[in-house]
Each structure stands twice: as C-alpha cells, then as structure tokens.
Amino acid sequence: MADLPHKTTPITLDTFLRGLWKENPVFVMLLGLCPALAVTNTTFNALGMGLATLFVLVCSSALVSLLRDYIPKQVRIASYIVIIATFVTIVDYGIHAISLELYNALGAFIQLIVANCVILGRAESYASKNRVTKSIINAAGMGFGFTFALLCLGSVREILGSGTLLGYPLFGESFQPWVVMVLPPGGFFVIGTWLLLFAWLKERKQRKITRQEEAARATG
C-alpha cells in the first residue's frame, strides 16, 4: 500500500550516506544515547556494541519492511518491538557464544538494545514505508553511523582514560591516565565536546557562505 509513491524514488548513494553523516543518530538526532555513553569506555566495547546494533537494525528493518502490508496499524509498535526483541535475543546468545569477554563487558546493555530508540525509529519512520532493499540500505547507513559515533566516543575515552588504543599502549610509562574519562562523567564530557566541535564547524561553514553571498552582492 505504501509501495506506490516510493517506487518512483530510486535508491541513491544518499539513502546510505544520510544516516552516516547528515542524520547521524547519535550526534545529530541525539538518539540511542544510553548505549552510546554506557559501553564506550574502550574502543573494543564500542566496536562490539556498534556492530551488534547494526545487525539488529538491518535485520529488523528488513523484516518490518517485508511485513509492512500485513501488520495492522493499531498494533504496529508492539509488533515492531517483538521483532526487535527477537533479533536482540539472537545477538545476545551469539555474542555469548563468540566472545565471553565482550559479553561480560557489555553486560545487560546487549539486551537493552531493544530499548534503543534508533531501531524503533527506523522501523516506524522508514522501514514501514519503503521497499526491502531500500530499507536495508538505509538501516545499514544508520547502523554504520551509529558505529562511527560510538568509535568516536570510545577511542577518545580510551586514549585519554587509559592511554591505550584497542589495548595497545600509546604513550610512555610516564603517562598519567585521566581516569575520569573512563568513568561515567567522562562519557558526558566527551560527547559534549564532540557536539561543540560539530557546532563550531557548522557555524564556520555558515559564516563562510554568508561572506561569499555578501561578496557576490558587492561585486554584482
């Protein structure tokens, strides 16, 4: 039913890239903050969490998109949540089998992927209205955007907080780690600083555009 108006819009590179940068779930939309801050005290955990979320996002988007004509509108949110919870259970058991170390480090946060608003948001606003391939590509972009954001946070926190990257020491013996960065307050500070950086870049770009317009008006 929702197929017709979208058949005309082709799949472009933008379908994928949009989630990666322009609509980055963490830095732009401020969604899914709980896992983004809670498990990013090391780069390895951030990567594991990002990939787990990517898997759930892609699979649930595909299934929601496949079933979009069969799910009644009234119970759609409940149905989406059950679909998401199923894939999260798969991921939970999968990580448990693959890497016990990662499983223990992430703890309950693997199961909390269910309550990640990025995934429900994708299901509700995109997958339920678009064709399967398009939803999968869009979800993959979002998932990689989420992983990218988690890596941004995780690497900074690990480098400053314990002086290592992926477990390899970066600095000499004399480095005094900023322990606060791996503790909860560090998460807030690092994401605040990233947002400041992005806001600064955006403002600089905006100023450049206005200056060019003024220059064009002056000459013309």
């Binding site: 801050l37 949110i77 409940a78 259970t89 199961q111 608003c117 909860p184 307050p185 947002l195 806001a199």
Partner: protein, 194 residues
C-alpha cells in the same frame, strides 16, 4: 549496612549508582523533559510508578519462566510486561485524575521506550533479588530518576539566564552540565559498592 539490606539496596539505586548519572539509562527523557521543573516532577512520578509496577510484574514473570525453563523468552516477555504496565498506568490515571492525565500528555506512552525501566527489570534479575528487595530496588531507582531529573531541570532553568557562547547552546551545554552532575554523584561512591 549489609549489601542485602533493604535500606542499602534503596540507597544504592537512589544515589550511589544512580540510574541516569552512573548507568546512563533513561537519557532521552532526562534531556527531553528537563526544561521545566513541574513537567520534570510529573514525569519523575509517572516513571517511578511504572517502575514499581513493571518491576513487580517482571519478578513474577521471571519466576514463571525459570519454572518452565524458558529463560530465552525473558527479553520479549519483559518488554510486553512493560508495555502493558504503561497501558495500565495510563488507564488508571485517566480514570482517577483526568487533570494529571492531561498534564502528562504524550510523556506517558513514551515511558515504554525508556530504557531505565527495562534496565531495572534486567538488573534485578541478574542480581537475583527476592520480592522485597525488588520493591526496594525499584523504589530507589524511581526516586533516583526523579532526583536527577529535578536537579537537571533546576540547573537548566538557571541556564536560560546565563550567557553561553552561541555554539554551545542547546545539547552541548546540557551534556557538560550532566557530566558535572555525574561527577558530583561520584562523591557518593564511597558509601558502598555495586
């Protein structure tokens, strides 16, 4: 105090390991609803109530699941329990106090996707609390959530009057504030362990 004491469990969830500031659970409402003091208060109370109800239901459901060896269904059942608890609270409030129902508005159904509630249900299962301990834990977590929300709302009311650089307006400065708040709460860590 022993780690199994009810008062310790309450205090632990209330301030030492505050759900918002130490576990980053429920950040969406924490940043979204903390612009005004009275909405923050109402949101805190509603969340606390849903926490109490869903925690007790989750305890019962978990007992059933363990009894029948169906632990792999835990996550799906918990989410269903929470969604029904929110629905129940919504109906009850609508019946008992229509004024409060109107004041809470859209925030009530949104409690379903609050990860603090699912987190509470999962944590109490991992810690293997008994019925009374679950009650103390959920009361502490709810009170802690309300406390964090009220503190943040109070700070942001003051922040509106402050003259901050234009690029840091909005979310960036809120995160910095939350970081400082979280730093303050770390001072309670000496009171007990996990």
């Amino acid at each position: 105090m022993q780690p199994d004491d009810l008062s310790f469990i309450f205090l632990n969830a209330f301030i030492i390991n505050n759900f918002v500031l130490a576990f980053f659970l429920g950040l969406c409402p924490f940043l979204g609803v903390s612009a005004k003091l009275d909405t923050a208060w109402n949101m805190g109370l509603a969340t606390m109530f849903v926490m109490l109800v869903s925690s007790l239901c989750a305890y019962g459901v978990n007992m059933l699941l363990v009894e029948f060896n169906l632990e792999f269904l835990r996550l799906i059942c918990y989410i269903a329990v929470i969604a029904s608890a929110v629905q129940l609270v919504e109906i009850t409030i609508k019946k008992l106090s229509p004024a409060m129902f109107r004041a809470l508005g859209i925030f009530l159904p949104l409690i379903t996707t609050n990860c603090a509630i699912l987190g509470l249900a999962l944590f109490q299962t991992f810690k293997e609390y008994n019925f009374l301990q679950c009650l103390a834990y959920s009361a502490g977590a709810g009170a802690g959530f309300t406390l964090a929300l009220m503190l943040m709302a109070g700070l942001r009311v003051k922040l509106d009057l402050a003259d901050v650089p234009s690029i840091s307006q909005g979310s960036a400065i809120s995160f910095m504030l939350a970081g400082i708040l979280s730093l303050t709460f770390m001072g309670f860590a000496g009171l007990g362990g996990h």
